[in-house]
Structure formats: structure tokens, C-alpha cells
């Protein structure tokens, strides 16, 4: 069988050109205000910049700030802005804009998902403009990883005083300027000739909304669009796209982090033996093979993706017999429950299917229950004992562990509450020594593997469908390289 390309095509694009991107239709309430939970994600990277961004190794690197430092206790952080950066409306970027943008994120009326993370460290008055090009954050608790928190895609910088209209105007400092925009509909951005890193290759990008995944793929196959965004192709579709003349697939290695949270507060999974049994009951290697035809990496229940600095290399074993005996110990032989899934993401159901099939060998009966995709993350998520879920990888290590595993955190989808774990994270943040800090993060990972109600069966490569004309497609974490992407004739 035809194999899927290992990486996207690179080369020299012809300058200019219009790229057409299809994306899933968002709700009619979507906005260009990045602080909001309804931000139109594909536009944001083209229109805006942050203080700092993340590179492919997960390192925090300059964006609007070209340099930053902290005091010895990691309590006060100072960022120095690039000079001569202008917003699309011509206004020059200053430290006041940055302060305004961060306070906007903290504004309770905005209800930004990033607010909680930042609030725990500083209040609105703790961010100040030192001078025209210097911004200072005074943290209430030490955090050696603080800059990585500002790489979030909710932290884009907007002009001072623009909060009321930014959702429609999209005035930022980014490589493209907004020409038109309809929530949940079509929109156009055009090249920003004055971009501080130089003009982008493309002249124009047109965005279209297509709700049905198959319809999106069909639009690509029929040559109506050049790229389908936010659509991780399942393996068979990827093969069709690869096999069709004019279209191909770009691979983002391990970009999809698939999880199977066991709800900590449920009757089934409050017993650690049952959780361990669940983990021993399946073989992630074979699951990867069945669900994704091997396009990814086995996770072995460690949420930190391969390649990310600070990952704990470990070797949990596949041991169905041990799973059986653990269940017997817990008095739960012949354990049976529902495993929820939906078509929210193409691979959730394949993973559920493969997982249930494997668990059956360890005597665990998982009944796959498919629910409506539109209510999956509002009605099912964090409410049923067992489900398949996913995140995008590319979070900095500290952010990953804090956001998803800390007690009470908004993304803590297994509702795990473990004091030792929380303390480990706090200690790590306060630890300015690089190597002992990393050790604490690794201990935390070990705790997740051993005790948490969280399974990471696999990391999947994200397979993006695009036209063969597209070159230099690069995407990692929440970053999309709008600057260098282009079209060949």
C-alpha cells in the first residue's frame, strides 16, 4: 500500500499567490479576540504576535520581545520589546499595548481560558510598563518557567484601547492584515508589506468554513481549496488524499496527544488498582498499529511527548495477566463500563475501537458509546467515567503538567487530585536550578504513570491534507508558519 509522505514539501515558492484554506465552521459567535475562548484560531497567527513564542523543541523564543530576564528568585520578569514594530493601522507598538493586552486577558468579563493560569501568579496591577519598550511582571509566587506561559495563543498583543472592536477588526502586528471576516463564514487576509520580519510570501489567504469533515476533504480533492486546517486526517482518508493527483499530506510528528481519562471521582476508578489494571490491560504499540497504522508513537501513559525537553523515558509493561489479578484484588473481575467516543476528531473512534478490542483480552468489557460530536466536550467530557479525548502537543512542559494534571485545573479531564503531585510542581517552579527542576518534573511524570487516572495510549502524527502546490508548510504546537508558506506554480 501507498505510504503517506514523511514530511511536507519544501522548496522555493513563487512569490505572491492566493492560498485557500478550508476550516471547520466555528459557531457564529466566534471572534478575532484571541483572549476569548471563541477565538478564530486560524486567523490569529496571521494577524497577531505574542511577546514570545515556542519553537519546535518546545523552547520559548522571541516574538515581539527580543529579550527577557528574571531576578534570581524568578519572581520579577522583565521583557524588552523589539523596536519599530507597527500595528496594521500604523500605530507603533509600545509597552502600554502589551500591558493593555495582558490586562485584557485577565479581565473577568472576557472570561479568557488563560486568565486562571495567569491569575494564580499575578494580578492586573502586577504587569507594568517600565518604559516605552520594557514590560515588567511582578509575580506573587516564583516561577522559573514563566515566559512559556505567555506563548499561549490567548496572549496575542492588541493595540491599547481596542478591546471593544478587536473581535471584528483584527488589527495586530502580524504578517497579514484583515480584509474581510464573517464569523463562521468566509474571510480574507492580505500580506502586510511592513511586517517586521519581512513581507510574507503569499499575497492573500482566503478562509472558508466547511462543517462536514468529508465535505472539507472533498473540497480539497476537487481542487477548490489548497489546505484543510484543523483537520487531522484519519489514515484511510490520508491515503486517499495522497493517492489523488494534485493533493498530498503533510505530517506533523506526534502533534496529536490522545488521552483516555478515567474519571477520578467515579466509582469505577477511585481505586488505584483498577486504574493500574486498565493501564496494564492494553498494548500501546499494537493500539498505535491498529488505530493509526503506526503513524505516531506509543505513549505508555506518559503525557509528555517524545522529543519534548524533560520527558521521562520509562518502560511500563503490557501485562494483561497483571491487569486481571489487579482487578481480582479490587474485587472487580469482569469489569465492564462504557467507553465514550465521538467523531469530534477523526481518530477518537479508531482509538476507542482498538482499545476496547485489546482490553477485552484482559477480561475488561468496554462498550463503545458514540455520542454527538457537538456536545462531546460540553456534555460528556469530565462527566462520564471513561472516554477518549485528545490535546495538541506543543505545550511547554510546565504548562502541560499544571494545566492538565493539577488539582482543580480547568483542563484536568480526569479530575485527579493528588497533593504530592501538586507540591512537586510548586517546588519545581520555584527551583531556579535547571537540572533539579527537571528532576522534579520527571518525578511528577512518574506519579502520573503510576497512580493517576490518566492514560496516554499514543501520540499521533497529525496528517494535514493540502495541495501539491503548497510548499514550506510548517505547523507545530499552536504555531503556524504564515510567513514562509507559499505556492509553487
Amino acid at each position: 500500500p501507498m505510504s503517506i509522505p514523511q514530511q511536507a514539501r519544501t522548496g522555493t515558492p513563487s512569490p505572491g499567490g492566493t492560498m485557500r484554506i478550508a476550516r471547520p465552521a466555528a459557531s457564529a459567535a466566534e471572534t478575532l479576540d484571541s483572549a476569548s475562548s471563541l477565538g478564530a484560531y486560524e486567523y490569529l497567527g496571521a494577524l497577531f504576535n505574542r511577546l514570545v513564542k515556542m519553537d519546535e523543541e518546545g523552547q520559548t523564543v522571541p516574538d515581539l520581545a527580543d529579550d527577557w530576564e528574571s531576578d534570581a528568585s524568578a519572581l520579577v520578569w522583565t521583557f524588552h520589546l523589539r523596536g519599530g514594530v507597527r500595528f496594521h493601522d500604523g500605530k507603533e507598538l509600545t509597552a502600554e499595548d502589551v500591558v493593555y493586552s495582558i490586562r485584557h486577558v485577565l479581565d473577568p468579563d472576557v472570561g479568557s481560558p488563560q486568565a486562571g493560569t495567569l491569575e494564580s501568579m499575578f494580578g492586573p496591577d502586577d504587569v507594568t510598563a517600565v518604559d516605552k519598550h520594557t514590560v515588567r511582571f511582578s509575580l506573587q509566587t516564583a516561577n522559573a518557567e514563566f515566559p512559556s506561559l505567555l506563548t499561549s495563543y490567548h496572549c496575542y498583543i492588541i493595540p491599547e484601547g481596542s478591546a471593544a472592536e478587536i473581535g471584528r477588526t483584527g488589527v495586530g502586528t502580524g504578517p497579514f492584515k484583515l480584509e474581510s471576516y464573517t464569523p463562521a463564514g468566509a474571510g480574507v487576509v492580505v500580506a502586510n508589506e511592513d511586517y517586521f520580519e519581512g513581507r510574507p510570501v503569499l499575497d492573500r489567504i482566503e478562509f472558508y468554513s466547511i462543517q462536514d469533515t468529508t465535505a472539507r476533504v472533498n473540497a480539497l480533492l476537487a481542487g477548490q481549496v489548497d489546505l484543510i486546517a484543523q483537520t487531522n486526517l484519519d489514515h484511510p482518508t490520508a491515503r486517499v488524499v495522497t493517492g489523488t493527483e494534485g493533493t498530498t499530506v503533510a505530517r506533523m510528528e506526534n502533534a496529536q496527544w490522545y488521552t483516555i481519562p478515567m474519571l477520578y471521582t467515579s466509582d469505577e476508578f477511585s481505586d488505584v488498582r483498577v486504574r493500574q489494571a486498565m493501564k496494564h490491560a492494553y498494548d500501546p504499540q499494537s493500539l498505535l498499529q491498529t488505530a493509526l497504522q503506526g503513524e505516531g508513537d506509543a505513549g505508555w501513559d506518559n503525557p509528555v511527548p517524545p522529543g519534548l525537553a524533560g520527558r521521562l523515558e520509562h518502560n511500563r509493561e503490557y501485562d494483561p495477566e497483571r491487569a486481571k489479578s489487579l482487578l481480582a484484588e479490587a474485587g472487580m473481575e469482569g469489569f465492564s463500563t462504557r467507553l465514550y467516543t465521538s467523531s469530534y476528531e477523526a481518530n477518537l473512534t479508531p482509538i476507542a475501537t482498538a482499545h476496547a478490542d485489546q482490553a477485552a483480552e484482559a477480561g475488561i468489557d468496554l462498550q463503545i458509546t458514540n455520542v454527538s460530536a457537538d456536545s462531546y466536550y460540553t456534555e460528556t467530557w469530565m462527566q462520564v467515567p471513561l472516554m477518549v479525548s485528545y490535546f495538541a502537543t506543543g505545550r511547554p512542559l510546565d504548562q502541560l503538567l499544571n494545566q492538565i494534571f493539577r488539582t482543580g485545573s480547568g483542563y484536568n479531564e480526569s479530575a485527579w487530585a493528588n497533593e504530592d503531585f501538586d507540591n512537586l510542581l510548586d517546588d519545581a517552579r520555584a527551583d531556579v536550578n535547571e537540572s533539579s527542576r527537571m528532576q522534579k518534573y520527571m518525578d511528577a511524570q512518574q506519579l502520573i504513570i503510576d497512580e493517576s487516572p490518566h492514560m496516554t495510549p499514543i501520540f499521533g502524527d497529525r496528517l494535514v491534507g493540502l495541495s501539491e502546490k503548497v510548499v514550506n508548510y510548517r505547523e507545530f504546537s499552536f504555531e503556524f508558519d504564515y510567513l514562509n508558506i507559499g505556492l509553487e506554480d
Binding site: 484511510p236 455520542v371 460530536a373
Partner: protein
């Protein structure tokens, strides 16, 4: 007595004789198609050596071979096995929901026809109102409210089809309700329910049987559409609609995974339609004229 009549002397039965034989064969073909599907669905576990749900990553998306006549799907499951077993869900749901819809619809229709007057008017208006809401919207709402268990789907389909059945049965029961034997029962002073059960229902039996067969074919399609939309059978259940949904993206890579369930579905529905046609003609019910009721 001189006017001794044998059935042969009845002009109606002589006229009907010739077409009946030919129709029997059409009905026969239809019944054979349906019967085979049911038989295969029941026997499927013994028909192939493979499990319909066990995955095998090493043989995913293979073309037809001696081992796997129709190839395998993306999980390495045997397409033939899944296709053979794939009728179970649709048949079960179709049978249950059609039965419920037809039973309730028949009762409502018969009551409306017998009652006439304001009760009939109220029933008709409510049925009309339910009919006026698009079936897909109704199904979406019901499934979203109650989740998508087998019984929810069964009841949802039933709710959607009750008014249609009621309308047809009401139409058929109307002349019966005005017939001499009902009048005689009324003159005797009999109450409504015994009249409906004793006199009316037996005489709309043909209509109801045809209605059952016809609804069944629509319900099978509707159920497969629901599965296709992700509201029907749960994976890894081998269900035709679900199989189409799972495999349609790979249509050009492994076409049989999609084609086999579609063809099976079409065979079943054609069979049900043929049987319904034959039944309708035998029973003298005009089926086509009430299609899509």
C-alpha cells in the same frame, strides 16, 4: 338453494386469478431477499471464520484475497464478515420501531376514524403537527435529549412514523366505520372500543400489513442514515450505515468496504419493497398512491 355460490363464480376472484400468479413470484423474490438477509444475519457468526469486531493491524485495508473475499477495513476486520452481520442492527431496529409505530398508529387511526367529530379533528391536527416537523429534526432532538441507545432510536423512529401510519389507517378505516356492520353494532348499542377491536381493526388488517412492510423499508433507510450521521449503531457494531460512514473516505482505496454494505442495504430494501408491492396488490391496497405518507 339455487343461488349456491362457489368462490369461483364470484367475478372478482376470476378476474384476479391471472395477475395473482405472477405477483406471487415478485412477492416471492422479495420475500426470498428479505428472508435471506435475516437468515444471514442470524447465522453470520458461523458463516465465516472471522470475528466481526476483532482488529488486526497487520492486514488493514487489504484488497480482496482468497482469505478475505471482500478484503479488510482499516482495522483489519474482514469486510465480508462485517457485511454479513451488518444487517442485524438495522433489522432489529427496523422491526421493533416499525412494529411499535404501526401498532400505535393503527390504534390512533382507527379511533380517529371511528370517532369522527371533534376527537377525530383533534387527533388529526396533532398528527399533522407532528408530521409537519421534519423527521430529521425530530430525530436529532430526541437523540440529543435522550442519548443514542438502541431503545431511544427505536422510540424516536416510532414517534416519527406514528402519525404517518395513523393517517393512512384512518383513511382506510373511514369507509369501514361507515359500513353496515359497524352501524349494526352501533344500533345494537355496543361501545366504541369493542367496535374498533371487533369490527374495524380486522378490516384494516391488509392496509396495516402493507403499511408495515412499506414503513419497514423506510425505517431501514432512516436507521442507516442515522448510523451514517453518527446517531445510530455504536462501533464496533457491524452495521451497514456505520460501515459506509467508516469506510466511505477510503472509497477509492478499498471500495468494497463501502460498496458491500450499500449493496446489501439495497438488496434488503428492494426485497422489502418487492414484498410490500406484492402484498399490496394481493390485498388490493394501493401502495404507490400513498407512498411517502
Amino acid at each position: 338453494m339455487s343461488t349456491e355460490a362457489t368462490p369461483q363464480q364470484d367475478p372478482q376472484s376470476t378476474v384476479a386469478k391471472k395477475p395473482r400468479r405472477r405477483l406471487l413470484t415478485t412477492t416471492g423474490v422479495g420475500l426470498v431477499m428479505v428472508g435471506l438477509t435475516v437468515l444471514i444475519a442470524v447465522l453470520s457468526p458461523w458463516l465465516t471464520p472471522y470475528s466481526a469486531t476483532a482488529t488486526n493491524a497487520h492486514i488493514a485495508l487489504m484488497g480482496p484475497s482468497a482469505e478475505h473475499w471482500l478484503g479488510t477495513d482499516q482495522y483489519g476486520r474482514d469486510v465480508l464478515t462485517r457485511t454479513l452481520e451488518g444487517g442485524r442492527y438495522a433489522l432489529l431496529v427496523a422491526f421493533l420501531s416499525t412494529t411499535i409505530a404501526v401498532v400505535i398508529g393503527t390504534l390512533i387511526g382507527a379511533v380517529a376514524a371511528y370517532a369522527e367529530g371533534w376527537l377525530d379533528e383533534i387527533i388529526s391536527r396533532v398528527m399533522d403537527a407532528v408530521l409537519s416537523v421534519p423527521a430529521v429534526l425530530a430525530m436529532l432532538l430526541i437523540v440529543t435529549v435522550f442519548g443514542q441507545g438502541l431503545w431511544v432510536i427505536v422510540l424516536a423512529v416510532a414517534v416519527v412514523y406514528v402519525p404517518a401510519v395513523a393517517r393512512v389507517v384512518r383513511g382506510a378505516a373511514r369507509p369501514v366505520a361507515n359500513s353496515g356492520y359497524v352501524t349494526a353494532a352501533r344500533a345494537r348499542g355496543e361501545r366504541g372500543l369493542p367496535i374498533i377491536i371487533r369490527e374495524i381493526l380486522p378490516n384494516v388488517r391488509d392496509t396495516v400489513m402493507v403499511e408495515f412492510a412499506m414503513r419497514a423499508s423506510w425505517v431501514i433507510l432512516l436507521v442507516s442514515t442515522l448510523s451514517f450521521l453518527g446517531f445510530g449503531a455504536n462501533p464496533p457494531t457491524p452495521d451497514w450505515g456505520l460501515m459506509v460512514e467508516e469506510n466511505r473516505t477510503a472509497l477509492t482505496v478499498a471500495p468494497l468496504g463501502t460498496v458491500a454494505p450499500i449493496v446489501s442495504l439495497a438488496i434488503l430494501v428492494v426485497g422489502v419493497n418487492l414484498a410490500a408491492d406484492g402484498l399490496a396488490k394481493r390485498m388490493g391496497v394501493d401502495r404507490a398512491a400513498r407512498a411517502a405518507g
